[in-house]
Amino acid sequence: MTPFRLIALLWACAMTAACNAWGQVPASLVEQGRALYFGTQKFSKSPHIAGASLPASASACVNCHGALGAGGREGVQAAPDITLRTAAESNRWLVAAMQGKTLKDRPLNTSMPRYRLSPEEQAALAAYAPLLGSAADTVRGVTSNEVVLGVYMPDTAKAQPSTDILAGVTLAFARANAQGGVHGRKLRAIAVHSPEEARSVFALVGSLHQDPALEESLTASRLPSMAALTLSMEGVKASGWTAPLLPSLQEQAQLMLRALNARSAELGCTPWLIDTLQVVSAQDPALGAVQRFTSNEPASLPSRPARLCLGMLSTQPRSAKLLEALTSGDQSVPLLISLAALGIATAHSSSTVHLHVLPAPSAVAAHADAAGQSMWVSLGQAAGNAVVEALARSGSRLQPEIALAKLRELSGYAPLDGAPLVWSRTHAHGWPPSIWTVPAQLIGLRQSP
């Protein structure tokens, strides 16, 4: 059977109620077509474009035609709507992809690649074509009345933050469900414990993950990690599958340096930065007057100045030991700034101004305090609320790419009062950091993620 006859059969099948579950079309063929369209399966041969070979990572149809096949525009270049409307169009995809022309024999724009499809790929794309953009297209974790999302908790040793996050996400979803859900679907949050389990949900929400196996799985499975609560060492790409809610360690370190420079000038002290994590570059102009040390061994440091202001980019327990050594006897430090996310010893005198760089707006800490709950629960609520809003803006035909894009458009929306999001195309993280002077023991972020 030629691919073109197969398409006609598929279309007739799709249009006929008697054709149950695609009749004789194997579900695996539809799945393969979906995978080729969305780029989770590579084409067997690289397509050509304008006399050049396009790499596999840039060959997926979704890149130009979108998750619903509705097309799009970049600059003066337009990608057309390729959803099928009539049976007569049923071979439109293959003629366009392989021959670079319309059904009326008009050549397509030169920006349409020429695909060299194997017979199996032709059959797979033909099987999926009638579904794209339609209500009949199945999306993992989504049914007509429910969307299932996952909170990732792979490590039982660190289960407590994730358990709190799941509780917070569940609170947010319960509120949305009480108002009818999102586009008629109720939202349900479940715990997922492995990359394999994660592939059963529509998206991850509020998750803590630094598991390379999971990171690969996100891309391979079109699995968005929405409003992730992982603290990344480096800024993530604004176009990747993870949309972190919290700022990167670098962004927090930059805020710390600004505060350390400004406050040490006010207090007349010598600013040191203990950067054992090497978050800040030695050439970073933001260092200003700050002297940076990458060791937290007291013996490797010079004699401390009489008035020492300290910034600590170091994890427990060694940072606590260093702090003890530097503040032994009657020596104190007028200023101590630490990252709340890394945990920090509070061994300082009452005369010390102790600031925490919080990986969220200070309103989040205030929310947790007012609600009498851990900050992780509040963070889970915020992640859940942001995802609810993104899904609401995604429309009823949910696709992971669309939900992720809508999440990143939530700039200005506040998932918790007083904590608006700042996601933008040039800012990959949902929230900026803030400085908080509340005593450390009131902050629930003692465990480093």
Binding site: I49, A50, G51, A52, S53, L54, P55, S57, A58, N63, C64, G72, E74, G75, V76, Q77, A79, N109, T110, S111, P113, K237, A238, S239, R425, T426
Partner: protein, 183 residues
């Protein structure tokens, strides 16, 4: 047929080519290559035949084809024959806030692009103000990065000869325009 008209006509094999547009006034700025090294833009152009496109690494639709075309062009430099002004492909980032030198290097690796002056292809980024000045000189500036025109400039400063195209130019087109610019 006058020489200039002939060159324009031969270049016009590319349907959207603007033959002999006003030469861009290239600002004397420093940009960064994919290894973070500072590069003076004018010094790159002063004695070379250049083709310049405008890309950003987060672009999933039309930048990859433009980059693939440059990759194919680079492989076919030998077809230019012996030219007095060495060929150079320049890919200028239009997204300085996201396109660090490292991001450019990673993007280039996706295309197996061999970058460097000796290889005849450089990808450059820089601070936002500098890149804005640069892209404005080529009429490639836009308020939104995904609204940027799909544009190619080909020129030879020693010959004071420039062409620009809109739409996706093929490797054949790029080579033909480079030949015409350097002739």
């Amino acid at each position: 047929m006058k020489r200039r008209s002939f060159l324009a006509a031969s270049a016009c094999a590319v349907s959207s080519v603007l033959a002999q547009p006003k030469a861009p006034v290239v600002p004397d700025v420093s940009l960064l290559d994919e290894q973070g090294r500072s590069v003076r833009l004018r010094s790159l152009l002063v004695d070379r035949t250049v083709a310049i496109n405008f890309i950003y690494t987060g672009c999933s639709s039309f930048c990859p084809p433009q980059t693939a075309v440059f990759r194919a062009t680079q492989e076919r430099f030998a077809e230019l024959g012996k030219v007095a002004h060495a060929p150079l492909l320049l890919s200028l980032s239009i997204d300085p806030l996201n396109d660090s030198p490292k991001a450019l290097a990673q993007y280039a690796a996706r295309f197996d692009a061999k970058l460097g002056l000796a290889q005849g292809w450089m990808m450059l980024t820089g601070d936002p103000a500098t890149l804005e000045r640069t892209t404005r000189a080529f009429g490639a500036s836009s308020a939104r990065v995904d609204d940027h025109p799909v544009q190619l400039w080909v020129g030879c400063a020693p010959k004071s000869r420039w062409f620009s195209t809109t739409g996706l130019a093929s490797a054949d087109d790029v080579l033909r325009l480079m030949k015409a610019a350097a002739a």
